[in-house]
Symmetry: C2
Amino acid sequence: MTVATPRGDVDTPARGGRIRRQHEAAILAAAEQVFARAGFQGATMAEIALAAGLPKSNLHYYFGTKAEVYRAVLAHILRLWLAETDRINADADPREALAHYIEAKMRLTAEHPDASRVFANELLHGAPEIGDYLRNELRLLVADKAAVIEAWIAAGRMAPVDPVHLFISLWALTQTYADFETQVCAVLNRRSLGPADYRRATAHVLNLVLRGCGLASPIPEGESPCST
Amino acid sequence: MTVATPRGDVDTPARGGRIRRQHEAAILAAAEQVFARAGFQGATMAEIALAAGLPKSNLHYYFGTKAEVYRAVLAHILRLWLAETDRINADADPREALAHYIEAKMRLTAEHPDASRVFANELLHGAPEIGDYLRNELRLLVADKAAVIEAWIAAGRMAPVDPVHLFISLWALTQTYADFETQVCAVLNRRSLGPADYRRATAHVLNLVLRGCGLASPIPEGESPCST
DNA sequence: TGAAAACCTGACCATATGGTCAATTTTTTA
DNA sequence: TAAAAAATTGACCATATGGTCAGGTTTTCA
C-alpha cells in the first residue's frame, strides 16, 4: 500500500552492507524485467531468482515476500518518473519547455521500457500499490504545472488546450512506444524499436503536439529513412 | 496462437444449441470483466464462474481451458476494434474523417473499457495470442489508411504528419482513458469517469489532433463545467 | 584472531488453482 | 414418449508456487 514516496523507505540504499546493496540491486533489476514481461501474478520468485543469478531462498533473505520486491521495483520507478517537469514554469518559453518535456519523457521511455511496462501494468490493474501516490503527489504536481500552462494560454502564448488532459495526452503519446511496443512494431513492420525509430517517434510527437498547441514546430519530420 | 481473425472460429455463434449460446455469452462477459481486472494469470476460473453465475465445472464444459476462454474474449474484442476506419478514404474530407475516427474510438473506449483493458494487457505482455493478427490484418489495414493520409498531405489538404505514427498516437490518446483510468481519475480528481468527462476528453483530443494536423478545430473546448 | 554479525541455501510445507470425471438431470428430436 | 443428445455438477487430483527454517559459511571488525 504505502509504496513509499520516491525517497521513501523501501529501497533506500542506506541499511545493510556492501553485499546487500549489490544483491538488492541485482534482484531489483531482474525483477523489473520479469514483472514487465509477466505482470505481478505472472512473475514467479523462481524466475526472478534465476534472472538475478541467485537461489530462490536468497531472494527471501533480502525481500520477505514477492509483494515487497514488487513495491521496491515500483518505488525505484517512481523516482525516475518524477523529475522531468522542472522546465515547465511561468518564466519559460512554452515551446521550449514542452519540447524539452516531450524529449525527456521519450528518452525515459526508450531507455527504461521495462520500467514503463511495470508501471503500466500497475495502472491497468487499478494501481493497488501506487494509488495513494497518484492521488496525492502526482495530482498536486500536475495541478501545479497545469496552472503554469493556464497562464501561458491566458497570456496568448499558446493555443487553448485543457492542461490536465494535455499531460494525460503526453504520457499516453510517449509511453505507448514502450507499453505497446508489440503493436507499434507490428504496424511499423519492425522486429524491435531501435534508436532511429525512437528519433522518428520523438519528431512525430513533437510535431503533432507543438502544432496542436499552436506552437509552430521547428523540427521538420522525416530526418533519415530509418532502416533499423 | 491463431486467435481467429474477427470472423474466426473460436466464438462464432453457429454451433451448439440455445443454452450453449446463452451460457457462452454469459461466460464471455464475465471473463472480460475478470481478465480486465486481473490479467490472464491473475484471473481464476473460479472467479469467472462466480461472475457468470455458473459452477466452475460448467465453464470447462463450454471451454476446455482458461486459455480458450481468453482467446474467445480476445476474438470478441477484435471484432469490435476493427470497424471504425471506414470513413478514411481518399475522397473524404480529412477533417471530417479524422474527427469521426477519433469520436468513434473514444466512444468505443467509453463503452467498452474492459475490452480495452484486456487488449492492453495482451499487448503489454507481448501479444502472445494476437501477435499474428497485429502483424498481418492490422498492419495491412494501417498501411492502407496511411496511403490515404499520404495522399491528403501530398495534396496539401493537411499538414505533414507521419501517418503510421499518427495512428499509433490516436490509439494511445483514446485508449489511455480506459487503460489508465486510475491515473486519469487521480489527476482529474474524480472517482470515476462519467459521460461528461468523456465529452471533455473527446473535445480535447479532437482539438489537439486536428490542430496538430493543420486542420483548424471547429470545436471550442470547455463546453460545460463538467462536475460529474 | 576470534566472536559476532551478515549472508547463504537445500529441503520442506501449505495452499491455490487448473483441470478431470463419472454419475445425474434436462432438453431435444424422431 | 422414448431414446439420444446436451448440459450439469460435486468430488477429486496433480502441479506450481510462495514462503519457512535450521544449520552452515563467509565477512566484518574490535
